[in-house]
Symmetry: C2
Subunit: 165 residues, 2 copies
Amino acid sequence: MDSQNVKDTVRQIFTEYLNANGHRKTPERYAILDTIYSIDGHFDIDTLYSLMADHEKFRVSRATLYNTIILLINARLVIKHQFGNSSQYEKSYNRDTHHHQICTQCGRVTEFQNEELQHAIENTKFPRFTLSHYSLYIYGLCSKCERQNKRKLKEKQNNLNKKEK
Amino acid sequence: MDSQNVKDTVRQIFTEYLNANGHRKTPERYAILDTIYSIDGHFDIDTLYSLMADHEKFRVSRATLYNTIILLINARLVIKHQFGNSSQYEKSYNRDTHHHQICTQCGRVTEFQNEELQHAIENTKFPRFTLSHYSLYIYGLCSKCERQNKRKLKEKQNNLNKKEK
DNA sequence: GTCAGTGCAAACTTTTTGCAACTAC
DNA sequence: GTAGTTGCAAAAAGTTTGCACTGAC
């Protein structure tokens, strides 16, 4: 499905959601949805605000962003994450299921796919609970930070050796 | 392992960590560790602050709580979660691996264990990444909220039927 | 004695709220 | 017309920071 096609589809899903729940179909809401579906990967409210500030027609306030994003989450068009300090969001329609690796040193978040894991989770029977969606966060060191740490450790040992001589 | 035994062990682990990293062994730090290991389940900074405020001897400031909890996380004695708005923490030593179910309606967080899932995750090979720990959050409806929703839906339909007559 | 650690308050960041103005219905 | 939405600014909530004082080493 190409990008425009996805945008049309999610706009339709959103319209149905708004109708079903008696919410108004304001231009701001559609502008926000459109902008979100133009973003690849994660974003926070501030980034979204900056992106939308460029538009002359549909500059929206932060308050509206917060309000609208709750609707989008309920309409299952956006997923909310909470790595780090501020909430991160991402589009969820027509997006492959993926998991997140968060480097505890540099804070970088990377995505990866793993069908086995995905199936294992989706086929699990949860106690007194009905699954709607899930997040798997893997914490640890990204390869970059790990290399860096090893280098530092080596330097430290070298310095110690020099001193001993 | 009984509770006192666990407390002694974690105190020892913490001491080693503090020594290894050139940090001072202050009574506040041990008091915080002790309090945390008296708590079952999750807690946030505010709860911990209230709990410790009762102590006459070791009332600590929020700033110290934030500082110390970072050390405890690094010493692998505490895990940080980010459901909802404020950060949640929990002790991690001598604690069975468990996952979290978060009700998107009432916000209640429940824990569950599932060895299959645990093994599936732990045996996964992650791309360019070294696992240190992980969090699996299952979002959906707890049985209570689901029952409530069904009841409401029924009432709504009943009301509609009445009006039609 | 020194400097890391502490308490306190102020600052900062992110999110929520109250209210007047606006507009989708 | 009217009630749901918006923008703005103020408030709230959570966390970080600056600084003087304290106490672990």
